[in-house]
Symmetry: C2
Amino acid sequence: MQRDKNIFQCRERVVSMVRNQSQGMDADAMEQFMQAAIQEARQGLSEGGIPIGSILVIDGTIVGRGHNRRIQKGSAVLHAEMDCLENAGRLGYHDYRRAILFSTLSPCDMCSGAVLLYKIPTVVIGENQTFQGPEDYLRSRGVELVILNDGECIRMMKDFIAGNPKLWNEDIGEE
Amino acid sequence: MQRDKNIFQCRERVVSMVRNQSQGMDADAMEQFMQAAIQEARQGLSEGGIPIGSILVIDGTIVGRGHNRRIQKGSAVLHAEMDCLENAGRLGYHDYRRAILFSTLSPCDMCSGAVLLYKIPTVVIGENQTFQGPEDYLRSRGVELVILNDGECIRMMKDFIAGNPKLWNEDIGEE
């Protein structure tokens, strides 16, 4: 019973921490938005693409959705986050400053750079176990990162990388 | 005469330094490739766009050209360098590792991130007077930068920014 109480208190602290950090968004809402990003990743996979998805949220509303389109469009720049930002269209400084970017995978150098360019204050990351971008650098530039390490995000990437190592290396600029 | 000789020796040292640093490319070739990037910037301007151009060179051959297409395509991601990388198509690690990216303007956080993602070893920059991206960070990650501060590149940007301050701020994520 004491143990249960401790676990409960611990969970509350985590939820409270997340709420305070992430523009008032609670953990349940965060999980829900991550599901929308996972849906994008699944959509990409169903098109024969790399299963990474992303959404952009402003004031609790999804304003952009995207997924990696390297294969589908023969694209060198349309990682999920870039596709999402592109689909959200031309936004202004005050839009991006209220935005939260969700990505099923830790953003690479390019996508992290886009976050910095537009001064998006918060990035919620599905997982950083199969790949990790420049997270410390993002933090040093004032970006808040929330890392969920969601089991479904990890499984999708592990399966894809195991089956397509060459394509995966191309996507992250590795040999 | 002595002064002329000193100037000559000084120029030789600069050319030699550039040659040693930049994958064997000499200063004249570098100027010539920058002219191709400037041509892209002019093309963008003639389309009603932001006058920034970029080219990608591998083994002395232009393999990609691009210019900023924010206005033309309503794009949030097609800065000149990104457009250039996209137009160069899907390349592999060994291609990018032999590449030199030319840009008429110092690359922003996003475009610098793309350079880091693909491990492009050298970036030749037309100018960094009207805008400066994260140059020190690029250097700290091992990227060689050659900064020309070309008069035509500076003039194009100064004129554009003076006439379109709001649009320019949108392009670099400023208020």
